[in-house]
């Protein structure tokens, strides 16, 4: 329960908003019985500049663009991508994984075992 006197306010736990420009990257979201999979366009981001934050069913991912070209640094310097999604309950936070490949971030959110469909074997009586 959250009250005004709560020492740990929600706002303080949220990832800080980048001071520089931030854009919302386009995202694909897929789901099957076992997991939710997200893809986000992160062009120009290297794996060590990606942040994932999962709290109270809220997933935030962000990435900071690394620009090498001097002439393009005014354009891309300090540019970051950031997006937040509210996920349905039942995601196993321990098993969330992410990989970045060719400027695309892939996030896998496995569901908790109790939510997975179960096959009930039928035996002859």
């Amino acid at each position: 329960m959250t009250t005004h006197n709560d020492v740990t306010r929600n706002e303080e736990k949220l990832p800080p908003r980048a001071a520089a420009r931030t854009v919302a990257p386009p995202v694909d979201i897929f789901e099957n019985a076992d997991e939710i999979v997200m893809y986000a366009d992160f062009p120009g981001v290297t794996p060590d500049h990606v942040q994932l934050n999962y709290e109270k069913n809220q997933l935030t991912f962000s990435g900071l663009v690394q620009e090498e070209h001097e002439q393009l640094s005014s354009l891309y310097g300090g540019l970051s991508y950031r997006r937040t999604f509210l996920l349905p309950g039942g995601i196993d936070p321990e098993k969330i994984s992410a990989e970045l490949k060719n400027g695309v971030l892939k996030v896998r959110l496995p569901k908790q075992d109790r939510l997975k469909p179960r096959h009930i074997p039928v035996t002859a009586g």
Partner: protein, 152 residues
Amino acid sequence: MMTRWGDFQGTLAVMDEFRRRMDRVFEDWETGRQDGYSMTDGWAHAWPRTYLADAGASVVVRAEVPGLTEKDVNVTINQDVLTISGARKPEELRGYSVHRQERPATNFVRSFSLPCKVDAERTAAVVKNGMLTVTLPKAPESQPRQITVKAH
């Protein structure tokens, strides 16, 4: 009937959630509005996003091609026109239902008139981390020249 404490707590949690959502309603929209991204138009109207910069001795063209490798992109120069073409394949996930699809598969061709004559032989194109960078050295006659100012 008396309200059980659990229900009350549940209601508070919902209100808390609601407040949190309201705090963030305009966030994506605001950030999305910058830089030509538009949440309502989608991203497909000019893909890939491309920039052109003059680096003095060369012209640099930058295109955002997330998910593409060097095999997926073609770069050609025909006289003063640079053409970038290629295809982005869809994510191959079988047996998944789709909740949101903002990055569709697409075939693209974009052509740019270059601002000056370039040396096509020495032009280099690199794809790295989903960014295509084409560096086009200017032809000798297009190189910037420093004019010495003399006292009269």
